[in-house]
């Protein structure tokens, strides 16, 4: 599906012009970040999972570079070069190639080289409005390109976080569950671990040492750990200090002392993760679910409804919006609202566009503080094939 004839390329270009026309008219500045990017930034921001999907290479000078797997991180870098403090509100749009290794093989819907058109909105503190603006504009663009039948899938990591916050458990457990949300098997395993005997956290740790540690007295605890290491001939190697090792032991001890997660709370989390329904009905179902269990996530639900209202105000038919609780995109940098535009011809595995909120990304790339950021990208070859009636 990569354009390999002049005619196909021209068709893609013509479509890109229409998409970019919609974006620039809405006040988004067209930018063209570099195709070859330092690999380091991507690997630091997204993690090793990215390497499996990215063309990483070493140049003759020994530098580790990559062909950009998307244009969001490059646009973040461009923004920071212009505004090192990232204290300026900005709207960018782009159109250009991105590259991904396809471990399951290259196909028309999953090419190794494809062209993305997209937008990024940085620094807008009216969050739900910004999210609706990005979704609305993305939809306007794909419809201007000729897309007629589509559906909008949305997810909301804010709701999940609110649910975890509302259930009584140590904060570390929340972090772990949040971390594993992307991996259904590991997530279920973690939940199961938390409802079993928490004392298992201490299994195989030196019990006599742990018994001497006192969370209220880090200095003496560290001294105990230092003595233990020395007595057992365990040389301190690597970057972790005695203090960090002590904190690790104390965290395990605290886990062991905590009440296990109640089975009903674990069941509520599982039930939540499986909620999938038209957006309005989903909101109502979540409200019912929570009030039955006397769990208060009202302010997160208010935000959910407010955003939904903004989407409807932007002219989107609510019947076309489906909420899915476990939907969070497979890129870990999303931090809140996420969405995908899906079409019946390709199914949910191959959305024609997608995006969301990623407030941590600019900071990860070098900004001093987290910066509100929302963006989206359109898979332009998929879009063109659907508009041309081809599907695949």
């Amino acid at each position: 599906m990569v354009a390999e004839t002049a005619r196909e390329f021209e068709a893609l270009e013509a479509q890109a012009q229409r998409l970019m026309g919609v974006f620039t008219k809405a006040g988004y500045e067209a930018v063209a970040p570099a195709i070859i990017q330092p690999a380091d930034v991507f690997l630091d921001v997204v993690g090793e999972s990215l390497r499996a999907r990215t063309y990483v290479f070493t140049d003759p000078g020994g530098g580790e570079l990559c062909l950009r797997p998307d244009l969001t991180v490059p646009t973040c870098r461009l923004h920071l070069e212009r505004h090192p403090d990232a204290d300026v509100k900005a709207r960018y749009c782009y159109n250009g190639p991105a590259f991904r290794f396809q471990p399951a093989g290259v196909s028309a819907a999953h090419p190794r080289e494809f062209r993305q058109a997209g937008i990024e909105l940085f620094g807008e503190t009216r969050r739900e409005q910004a999210e609706a603006e990005v979704v609305g504009l993305t939809l306007e663009a794909v419809r201007a390109a000729g897309l007629e039948r589509w559906g909008l899938r949305i997810g909301d990591l804010g709701l999940f976080q609110a649910l975890l916050d509302a259930i009584d458990m140590p904060d570390r457990w929340r972090g772990r569950l949040r971390h594993q949300l992307w991996r259904p098997d590991a997530f279920r395993e973690e939940l199961f671990r938390l409802i079993r005997d928490p004392a298992a956290a201490l299994l195989d740790l030196p019990a006599d040492l742990v018994a001497t540690l006192d969370p209220a007295d880090p200095a003496s605890s560290e001294a105990e750990v230092g003595r233990y290491l020395e007595a057992h001939g365990l040389e301190l190697i690597g970057a972790r200090s005695v203090s960090e090792i002590t904190q690790g032991l104390l965290a395990a001890a605290a886990d062991a002392a905590a009440e296990p997660l109640s089975p009903s709370a674990a069941e509520l989390i599982e039930t939540y993760v499986n909620v999938k329904a038209p957006a309005r009905a989903a909101g109502a179902r979540l409200a019912d679910l929570m009030s039955e269990r006397e769990i208060d996530i009202e302010s997160a639900l208010d935000i959910y409804h407010e955003r939904l209202q903004h989407l409807v105000d932007a002219g989107i038919d609510p019947a076309l919006i489906e909420f899915s609780a476990e939907f969070g995109r497979n890129l870990e940098y999303y931090t809140g609202f996420v969405f995908e535009i899906v079409v019946p011809e390709l199914g949910t595995g191959s959305p024609v566009a997608g995006g969301g909120r990623y407030d941590g990304l600019l900071k990860a790339v070098g900004a001093r503080e987290a910066v509100p950021a929302v963006g989206s990208a359109i898979h332009t070859e998929r879009l063109l094939s659907v508009v041309n009636g081809g599907g695949e």
């Binding site: 993690g47 471990p103 971390h179 991996r183 395993e189 750990v225 040389e235 972790r240």
Partner: protein, 232 residues
Amino acid sequence: MTDNLILAVPSKGRLMEQTAAALAKAGLALRKTGSERGYRGEIEGLEGVEVAFVSSSEIAHYLKSGQAHLGITGEDLIREHIVDADERVELLAPLGFGHADVVVAVPRCWIDIRSMASLQAMAPAFRRAHERRLRVATKYTNLTRKFFQSKGVSDYRIVESLGATEGTPASGAADLIVDITTTGATLEANGLKVLDDGVILRSEANLVASRRVDWSPAARAARHHILAQLRS
């Protein structure tokens, strides 16, 4: 291309010696043809088989691309170098030598870390304290990524290491490693321990067949003969 079966075997080191010994014991004596330093050979008294002497990691590439019908090499190298190994090759028989476990090892002084889960639980604190992810030194980048993903560990960076991997935590080049071990003595000498659930693969030398090669009736017959001899 002839109808001959091409068998790729290790060209040097201990794995070559053990391969030659195992084949000889099965009545399949290897013999180099041409000059003594050549990289071609045959099996004494067996028609239709060409032997290619290749470095062990190259053998995986030969099988992956169909340049050889059969190969003898470690399962670790097969799984590392062929991402879709089960599609491209078939492990016919473990050969009982070249044993090595691919393991995740961390400094022994990390007395708070016993499992992959505790490693992941510690990772965010590490990242806050050191403003970087945990670094994992290895030459097994694909195996590492797959295993860490299956265990839900994502806060790490791979540092490619092509030699003396076990020394990298002490030197500060990495925080933990993924490497092969046979007795664990080298790990221990370098102040490292294997995590309780940190065994990625128990590897040994295998007879491996390519699925990406033309199997003529003659090559198929030679394969059955070699396999039968090795099993007897």
